[in-house]
Symmetry: C2
Subunit: 529 residues, 2 copies
């Protein structure tokens, strides 16, 4: 029997508060470094030697995970429980990997079969495009796959395509070039379009509701450019949308691929939202490998023992840092250029899921929830904001990610070591530098240390490892949401801005409004005399 | 007479703590919206109607600015005082705009003349490249300007070149394509090089010391690719470095442009570090307009009245949010795709300058200094992390930036409004939504409001406006550093990681080490059996 209660009603949480905090500086010793690691899946390992938790704290975090029934809630989610309580919806992105969760159906449709069918349809479509049986309106082979979407329809798929572009090149798996248009700023679309041959470009319009204003504005812009170039726009655009949206079964699109309300935007890279563009760009097999990697991590997240379940452990360490140590932000630091936009995806995933102040039943909370998440690739970040991370007045927990091998195979020796060795040496050195610090007579050169981090290491980043990373963080965020007793699957906080933006647009168009503040804002910005 | 004391020794700071805090929700009324603005320069305006400060607090912040002698310290900095106390150096990036600060000389060299000479040299060089009197090793016209640098040699120049690319295209001012290589990850350089024709590429190697390992590794990589393509690499690379570096007057470079120790990396976009690539990409006149815009804001920052000095006011509002309201992070949200990498530049500028725990004399501080800075362009961010900003348990002050007009001129109407109107409507709506919130019977749809923001608005983003933005934030960060009594101009916090990375590299190369922790880390990562 699953029950729900707030974090501060948990006995284990009270206990946790009474356990003495530990100094990371002292924790980071060779014995612990050799032991504090968890096999994840597809060759990834999670290291927590530099996390601010000793065995006593870990035991208590395991008690807390048990008390909050995190694994039972994950199982319930997989079985189709209404975990998105606000919108009264199931949460089924795991089902989209094509392997977990049988027997969930809505109005007679088995949903795993539905997702699998859409994946298969996208795979067939991509193959037809690659083979040339589907061609541009002028009979040319398509060379570019350009996604038009925003938020979850952009960040995850974009991060994934960037992450795999070099891998695809190295492996001879690149079929088409992936590009993305998201911002309603027309300078975004204009610049992307200027860099592409329109005649050989296939656009993927992604909007679950079919009513996202930014995406529809960009569709209008793209259609006008296609038509101006003498191309039949209906032969250059496919839709990814829900079956009930105005974009569905619409003759204006070359094809349509369906999603539904049970997969939220920020969790949708495993669905057609990420699948169509990835299948077009790097082939359907690449997308399948991505799903397999995600599935392997989904399975690993079912392990009950905290010390053998990386997403669960990562979640509980994060919760400890947030609610016991009171640390308000966390940095994601991938030591690979391939993951340059992965922090932006995690920023949405985490902050949109867990940036909540009420519990799953709408009751205000008396504790902190999701942190601010930011990050840039290393070593670039070292030459930028690491100064504050090392010597600032606040402590920021760090999440490192690294790979032993390049995606492209051309490395060079300089000063006796390869660039990849330098990259990994920097990553390992940073873990130690942050944790251990360094004393110095000159206080300006003193490092207090005690700054916690965790690290995910793998051999080489390919689609399976990328899928596993997506799943790891999705499940981490889910576990934290369960522990905080919040609904990680809605985003009511984005609504007010939309409503007010429409009011400002009305005011700009000369309509009357009794909202004096909005009128004053519009006037100040020069839009109203 | 200038004197230095810590923030918590200031009478005005004690007073500030005793003044009642104000509710932003109530502050945001039409009268205040019409008044709470400051003309900046080159058409930019700073709005602070939604900042958490009333007239009483502003008066006290002005007292504090006077008590900490912020303007006198700025004047002293301009006159060549040793403001980088740790490294005992002057701080002269303002001088690089070419207009402020006469009579500062070192060893008989007038430094304004020196910076101006290097700017002029870069302008002549760029013109010769554009006219074709300087050509590739095979006699071709150069088409690409590729900067190799990291940290301040990358983030500011890259943000600036991205910000002006569309403008240059629209104005017919684009001369060459700008590209950037920064990360020591060889997958970074390999991908950039694969997208360019090497034969028509001119590389700009930027390292003040001439010893930055990442940059030298990338130089080796680029040289090996150039030579492999049968090109004479010494005809394809110029250096931007200090006169005493190993890169200076080196026959391996087509030309050298000089900088010195008085312009820190994150402040160096106005020097040859940003000037060579900007002059090559968009012409020397573009770089001059950028400097003119920066100079105009430098002058505006000399205004003593708090309410008429935007950088000073922005600095003091930020300090109030940080030290009185206790808010640990701040988001930069440009509503223009052109500024997509401007937050990454500000992240370095702010966090590397003011992420310090000791005062300018090395004495540990008892108050918080620089915040975590992060951001992404709107409206993209609205569909991502804004959920937490609106409804999360922590409050994050927001810094909006927007422009009334596009850079590229092609906009379209959709649903009755242009994309640019939608963009600005969203920006204005967000300011109101964050400040005012909205009640709702359903607590899940409730917005507490009271979330502060400021906004910089302009007509259109061109080089002068960009220069003004760079200057605004440089001077804001400088004023905050003076108020906190810290040295904003060194970065000792990046040293320890470098030292330990070299030790790990030695261990990887089989050298003996008595650092058991580093050895264990290297072993765990598979680099040591």
């Amino acid at each position: 029997m699953i029950s729900y209660k707030n974090l501060n009603e948990c006995g284990a949480f009270s206990t946790l508060k009474s356990i003495p905090r530990v100094d990371v500086t002292g924790l980071l010793n060779p014995e612990r470094i050799g032991k504090a690691m968890v096999d994840m899946a597809v060759g990834l390992t999670y290291f927590y030697a530099a996390a601010p938790v000793d065995e006593t704290i870990l035991d208590c975090l395991e008690d807390l995970a048990r008390e909050q029934q995190l694994l039972e809630k994950y199982q319930a989610l997989l079985s189709g429980a209404i975990m998105n309580t606000g919108e009264k919806r199931m949460v089924l992105h795991h089902l989209a990997r094509g392997k977990l969760g049988d027997g969930i159906s809505v109005s007679g449709t088995d949903l795993r079969t539905f997702y699998e069918g859409e994946r298969s349809k996208a795979a067939d479509f991509a193959r037809a495009v690659h083979e040339g049986s589907i061609r541009s309106s002028t009979g040319k082979l398509f060379k570019n796959a350009v996604q038009i979407g925003i938020g979850g329809s952009d960040l995850g798929p974009r991060a994934a395509c960037i992450a795999l572009e070099r891998w695809a090149k190295a492996e001879g798996r690149q079929k088409m070039k992936a590009a993305f248009i998201s911002n309603v700023d027309p300078d975004d679309a204009d610049m992307v379009l200027a860099s592409l041959d329109l005649e050989t470009s296939l656009f993927i319009l992604v909007s679950k509701s079919g009513t996202t204003p930014e995406t529809l504005a960009n569709e209008t812009l793209v259609r006008s450019r296609l038509e101006a170039a003498g191309l039949d726009s209906s032969k250059h655009i496919v839709a990814v949308t829900s079956k009930t949206s105005p974009l569905a079964q619409n003759p204006g699109y070359l094809a349509s691929f369906y999603i539904d309300d049970f997969i939220g935007g920020r969790y949708s890279t495993s669905s057609a939202v990420g699948g169509v563009v990835m299948s077009l760009a790097y082939g359907p097999e690449c997308f399948e490998e991505f799903l397999d990697g995600a599935h392997a991590m989904d399975k690993a997240a079912l392990e009950p023992a905290l010390r053998r379940n990386a997403p669960l452990l990562d979640a509980m360490i994060g919760l400890y840092e947030r609610d016991i140590l009171g640390l308000p932000s966390t940095a994601v630091l991938p030591y690979t250029e391939a993951l340059s936009r992965f922090p932006a995806h995690l920023q949405q995933l985490d902050m949109e899921s867990n940036g909540k102040s009420v519990n799953r039943n709408g009751v205000p909370l008396a504790y902190t929830t999701g942190p601010v998440v930011f990050g840039e690739p290393g070593t670039n970040g070292q030459h930028s904001f690491y100064q504050l991370l090392h010597q600032g007045t606040d402590i920021v927990p760090l999440q490192f990610i690294g790979f032993a091998e390049n995606q492209l195979s051309n490395d060079i020796l300089s000063m006796g070591t390869s660039s990849r060795q330098k990259l990994i040496a920097n990553l390992l050195a940073q873990v130690v530098a942050f944790a251990r610090g360094k004393d110095d007579e000159n206080s300006n050169k003193r490092f207090a240390g005690g700054r916690p981090s965790t690290m995910i290491l793998g051999k080489r980043l390919g689609p399976a490892q990328l899928g596993a990373l997506f799943s790891h963080f999705e499940n981490k965020v889910m576990f934290q949401g369960f522990a905080w007793n919040i609904n990680s699957f809605d985003q009511e906080g984005v609504q007010l801005g939309k409503v007010l933006a429409n009011k400002v647009l009305s005011i700009m168009q000369g309509e009357k409004s009794d909202d004096a503040v909005l009128k004053a804002m519009a006037k100040t910005a020069g839009f109203l005399e």
